[in-house]
């Protein structure tokens, strides 16, 4: 008698447990025993103690409430952030920090995109760089000390599951020496997405000619685009900021004396730091320049370069007159 169950609370509880167990087993418990739930890319590096301490800060401050860490395999998303996320990138993530809401941008490909100094400045005061940003200021992290004993305990907890994360006190102390919570958070930020190779950039055609070298309208548009996209780091006049972005008007290019043709400027705006090897100028350190090829058209980029050239010529002339 099926109706009997509504007279027997224990039986009803048992049957309810069975009912909720089937879906739980098939979609949650059974997959745990499959290898595809535990992938690990060979290129994936474990957190250093400093990076783990930074991840702890990221968890403590609830960054996951506004930032995702997974790029979906959608054209527009790959164009905006970079290659889509792979299952094997998250082997050390206890828990996963993919998030569910993008009030701020996705951070899965953030590592290596910008210099440390950029992040320090941005975490301290986001509105100074992006006046209309709604991100809280994390200036209070500056100067807050890191405790090696705490980080060691955290490494040990995870080290029981991942031999790559095993560490002793000396190693933790060395990693944290002279660093504060802001440094740790920046170190973690730079860790994100390192396991997946950046886009390969082919040879650069340095002979390509800027179609707008003499186009006044394009130069005005270039100036506007520069102010909207580049001035945050390079300054309104293109003279750069110490540690964040270089001066664009001196006769150095990627920290090497001597200028390069317009096509080199075009290439580095379009593809960012990934283009450094193709230009034969590795620069001071990895990362630094973001790729704008996903959001600026070729004409836009040539216009910026055209304005930069004109601006540089103008400043040189001013100098000579003085």
């Amino acid at each position: 008698m099926a109706g009997e169950i509504y007279k027997k609370p224990v039986l009803l509880a048992v049957m309810a447990t069975v009912a909720i167990s089937i879906g739980s087993i098939v979609t949650m418990a059974y997959p745990m025993f499959r290898a595809d739930m535990h992938p690990q890319l060979e290129t994936l590096k474990a957190f250093t103690p400093l990076q783990l301490a930074g991840r702890d800060v990221y968890q403590r401050e609830g960054c996951v409430g506004c930032h995702t860490q997974t790029v979906r395999p959608l054209k527009s998303e790959v164009a905006r952030y970079g290659d889509y996320s792979k299952a094997g990138e998250f082997a050390f993530d206890h828990p996963f920090l993919w998030g569910s809401k993008r009030t701020g941008p996705d951070l899965a490909r953030e590592g290596g995109l910008r210099p440390d100094a950029w992040h320090e400045q941005h975490y301290t005061n986001p509105q100074q760089m992006f006046p209309r940003s709604n991100m809280p200021q994390y200036a209070f992290l500056r100067g807050r000390p890191l405790d090696p004993a705490t980080t060691l305990a955290h490494m040990k907890a995870l080290g029981g599951f991942h031999r790559e994360l095993q560490a002793d006190l000396a190693a933790v102390q060395a990693s944290l020496a002279g660093k504060d919570e802001l440094d740790a958070l920046v170190a973690y930020t730079q860790w994100l997405g390192h396991a997946v190779a950046r886009r390969q950039v082919g040879a650069v055609d340095l002979a390509a000619v800027n179609p707008f070298s003499a186009d006044r309208k394009a130069k005005l548009k270039g100036q506007k685009l520069f102010l909207d996209n580049c001035a945050v780091c390079h300054g309104d006049e293109g003279h750069g900021q110490e540690g964040v972005a270089p001066d664009l008007l001196d006769d150095r290019f990627l920290a090497v004396d001597g200028d390069m043709p317009d096509a080199a400027y075009f290439a580095i705006i379009k593809d960012g730091s990934d283009v450094k090897p193709a230009l034969g100028r590795p620069g001071e350190k990895d990362g630094g320049m973001t790729a704008f090829g996903g959001q600026l058209s070729a004409d836009d980029i040539w216009s910026i370069v055209a304005w930069l050239r004109a601006h540089k010529a103008h400043e040189q002339l001013e100098g000579e007159i003085k």
Binding site: Y6, K7, P9, A13, A16, T17, A19, I20, G23, V26, T27, M28, P31, D36, M37, H38, Y58, Q59, R60, E61, G62, G65, C66, T68, R72, L74, S76, E77, A79, R80, S85, K86, A87, E89, F90, A91, D93, H94, P95, F96, L97, S100, K101, R102, T103, G104, F130, R132, S133, P136, Q137, Y138, T150, H154, A157, L158, G160, F161, G294, Q295
Partner: protein, 474 residues
């Protein structure tokens, strides 16, 4: 005496505690909604959006949600079993522990102790507290049901039993963690596996904290307040079993287009669509129950709470499955559409049903009537308008956001920077906060009405101490 026998003091204690934490949670929600367009209102380190958001969600899910469920389900269980709680002192202890736990939880989240698991932020010592509370609840629910007077169990009891079992399983499994300190732990599961376990939990926490216990209330208080019997017993049987069977497959619809294996995502999407059927089973049962006499919508001030509540449940359970479909998910996932969806369920379905149930219970405890039907009606219209303004503005800006993120120029480059997409939300976020203010004012009318009704009840008892309360309905 009836009052004493039915442990009404405990029921009322839970209701008042839930209301207190509810007001706290709503006010924090209001603050974080403003922080989203006024970042200068973040006061680091304790009052930043990142730390406050879990206090908002936990405060309302645990403080208001579970608190009200403890109180109202104890009430329902006692009436349906026609006996007092089996262990009344345990229930009193549970009430005290509940308030201590919620206060400690809020404090720990202010301090930044968080597992970073959505809706499971609390660190392990607090998880232990939650489990203890749940066990205390379960002991009393089962203990009382085992000693009930009627052999046949009413549908509200089935939903209560399913809630007790499912929440225990979900909460314990997802909170398994590697302890790394007194207030620090790491999820036992890593990467894609961690994601899959978390959303199996996350989605079903909605299912078994915001659906089944609320349905238990709905199935009890709707017939009680209208005097109309439930339309179809057979439909409620069908809806019950297919709901609790189907729910547990669906968590991965939160992980569409992530690196979680495709087959888990697809299975989740399919079962999510299936869930429309049992959800609407309850919607139809609700409509047809009142459908036998629609004049109850006018004559009984509570009927409209339940009918609008079940309407939002119906809309929620069509919108949810729609969102799970890949073609829709790719547009609205990660946008403000999703909080719009969640708040229709919580501010619409859950709040309307819970507040109406409280309006029924508080006067019933004192054998009196509500202090003011007029205030209840004002409360109703304010929360309705507030919630609609909230959700609708979020849906609009959510679609806009998704479209801006995807927009490309003729040459395939992106049309908008992320920041351009963000700033276009601001006008809608202003509107959302306005909706939240209206909703909050509505809830304050509710709080006032409950407090005044209790005052009225107490005055009544004081003036006629010798009069025994009405005998329990047999």
């Amino acid at each position: 005496m009836n009052d004493y026998r039915y442990d009404n003091r405990t029921v009322q204690g839970f209701i008042l505690s839930a209301i207190f934490w509810g007001v706290v949670g709503i006010l924090i929600g209001l603050l974080i909604s403003v922080q989203l367009f006024a970042p200068s209102l973040n006061f680091a380190p304790y009052f930043t959006y990142g730390r406050l958001r879990p206090i908002h969600t936990n405060g309302l899910a645990i403080g208001l949600g579970i608190g009200a469920e403890f109180g109202l389900l104890f009430y329902v269980v006692m009436r349906l079993c026609r006996r007092p709680l089996r262990f009344p002192r345990l229930a009193r202890l549970q009430l005290w522990l509940f308030n201590i736990a919620v206060a400690a939880a809020a404090l720990s989240l202010f301090m930044g102790y968080s597992q970073s698991l959505e809706y499971a932020e609390l660190e392990w010592p607090l998880d232990v507290g939650v489990v203890v509370l749940w066990v205390m609840f379960a002991v009393n629910v089962f203990g009382t049901i085992m000693k009930r007077q009627d052999e046949q169990m009413y549908v509200s009891l089935w939903y209560t039993i399913a809630t007790v079992v499912a929440v225990a399983v979900l909460y314990i499994v997802n909170n398994l963690a590697i302890p790394a300190g007194l207030m620090k732990s790491y999820h036992l599961f890593a990467g894609v596996n961690s994601a899959n376990v978390e959303w199996w939990y996350g989605h079903n926490a909605v299912g078994f904290l915001f659906t089944t216990p609320i349905l238990a209330m709905f199935y009890y208080f709707l017939p009680k307040s209208t005097g109309l019997p439930i339309f179809s017993h057979r439909l409620s049987i069908l809806a019950f079993w297919s709901l609790i069977f189907g729910y547990l497959w669906t968590g991965a619809h939160h992980l569409v287009y992530t690196p979680v294996p495709d087959w888990i995502q697809t299975l989740a999407i399919v079962f999510t669509l299936f869930l429309i059927a049992p959800s609407w089973g309850s919607v139809i049962n609700g409509y047809y129950t009142v459908g036998s006499d629609w004049t109850k919508m006018k004559s009984g001030y509570l009927t409209k709470f339940f009918i609008l509540g079940i309407t939002f449940y119906g809309l929620q359970t069509v919108q949810g499955p729609t969102q799970a479909i890949r073609a829709v998910s790719q547009l609205i996932h990660y946008t403000d559409w999703v909080p719009g969806h969640v708040h229709m369920g919580t501010m619409g379905w859950v709040t309307l049903t819970v507040t109406a149930s409280i309006y029924y219970v508080i006067p019933a405890i004192y054998g009196t009537t509500i202090w003011s039907e007029k205030v209840a009606n004002i409360h109703f219209w304010l929360v309705l308008v507030g919630q609609l303004l909230f959700s609708v503005s979020m849906w609009i800006t959510g679609i806009q956001q998704g479209a801006l993120w995807k927009a490309v120029n003729a040459d395939g480059t992106l049309k908008y920077t992320f920041l351009e997409g963000l700033t276009k939300n601001y006008p809608y976020w202003h509107m959302r906060s306005l909706g939240a203010v209206i909703f909050t004012v509505g809830m304050l009318f509710f709080v006032a009405n409950v407090i005044m009704t209790i005052q009225k009840g107490k005055a009544l008892q004081a003036s006629a101490p010798a009069t025994p309360a009405a005998a329990p309905a047999v």
